[in-house]
Symmetry: C2
Subunit: 258 residues, 2 copies
């Protein structure tokens, strides 16, 4: 077997995946996850026994990725075009490789990420989705997008996001920095885009669930700023379902949007 | 049973549908078509025995519609919001009603259509579709979009489109007027948009198949103008598959884009 030491070649992939096919990114016993499928397929394609993959960050069960970044080590330089083709073919319709690069051996997907953008897609019309089944949350009642956008602006800056933290979140600190946060209408969709240094477990989904409360005319007694300041999960809205959420892209410390 | 004469109320619907669920628009014995499903569901919702529906034009088996226009007659004024909800729910994920209006009794979806736009979507990248399975044609090899757009411009104007006519086309005349025809790149997609007074059977798909030949660097010995002028189907390229094609919208004689 090839030992880890012989694997000096560091390969970075940009991948997209449909969250509906996976129990999240991280490996779990007996469950199909992005990590387990990628490692299984890379092992086949590279003919190496075990190929651990390292993501820019995990995504939860059901969450989609448009441009997730991972890296792995191998012992021989692979044909990158063949690698893109082979991995995409073996995981056809579930995960696709959009880009592959050889990167310096000290490159680490998580540490090299300066910021990430997530977006949450709501199909806001009477008819349920035809072309976006499982790819957007459907809400029939017209949302007050202006109000949602106003409240979403309160997320920008460095804050303690304890109010927007999932119950099982294991992060040591709850302070994160948000660079951009906005809600806009795009045709029949209402889209929440948020860019930040990092995110707590379920953070964007709880933010979305809270924005939807404002959009529905609820939460008349509070503002997003107040919800943030309470640092209590109970002050925020429910966790929006996973299938409307996308990891859009990851930006490196050098400012490259992958 | 209610007779046709009692049905003086004319209702127009704008609908979207996923072509993959239907054997085209038109009723066919023992096959699930857009017409048969709409008529079945409208009969249930309106509690009327048979509710014939009239489209702006048929779409072929497998072709999608973003905004197809149909009309039907009924005897009592329906609650349009309930109608949208009920029909969309009964055909959930396959067909959705985007809009419903009461129109003058002499309104006819086909005759009132001044123009229509179709678009053909090609996912032009190495990885197969993850979020657009069955919703775009996948071509791995990079297409020459500039060349395609140049050749597509030849369709504009009033021409005899015999070269782009399906073998089973029953149209009496082969002259149609095209108002707009262009190919552009949108991210990983190459999109062919064509607006015209009307289209022959398979016309847009044969046009697309021919444009792909140019985009692949083939057909060095001819131009689109020459293919048009031969009036021979054999001079054009193959018929592109149905699942990349969308009826985008229908414009009325009054200039309203439905």
């Amino acid at each position: 077997m090839a030992s880890a030491k012989e694997r000096s070649l560091n390969v970075r992939l940009v991948v997209e995946y449909h969250g509906g096919y996976f129990y999240g990114f991280q490996w779990q016993p007996n469950l199909k996850t992005v990590q387990s499928e990628l490692e299984r397929v890379l092992s086949v394609v590279l003919k190496e026994p075990i190929v651990p993959v390292y993501p820019s960050g995990r995504t939860d069960s059901g969450v989609h990725a448009r441009r997730q970044v991972i890296n792995f080590f191998c012992s021989e330089e692979p044909d990158l075009n063949k690698l893109i083709h082979a991995v995409s073919s073996l995981l056809k319709g579930e995960l696709g490789v959009l880009r592959a690069d050889i990167v310096p051996s000290n490159y680490n997907s998580r540490k090299s990420a300066r910021s990430k953008q997530y977006s949450y897609w709501i199909l806001n019309r009477r008819a349920p989705p035809t072309f976006h089944k499982g790819l957007a949350l459907h809400l029939s009642k017209a949302l007050d997008v202006e109000r949602m956008n106003k409240e979403a602006a309160s997320f920008v800056g460095k804050h303690d996001f304890s109010s927007f933290r999932g119950a099982n979140c294991s992060a040591e600190t709850t302070v994160r920095e948000i660079y951009k946060s906005a809600v806009k209408r795009e045709g029949d969709f209402v889209v929440f885009e948020i860019e930040g240094s990092g995110f707590l477990q379920h953070m964007v989904r709880i933010m979305t669930g809270t924005l939807i409360e404002f959009g529905n005319g609820n939460f008349q007694d509070r503002t997003m700023k107040e919800i943030l300041e309470t640092r209590k999960r109970s002050a925020a809205g429910p966790t929006a379902p996973a299938h409307g959420l996308y990891l859009d892209w990851v930006e490196t410390k050098e400012g490259e949007r992958l």
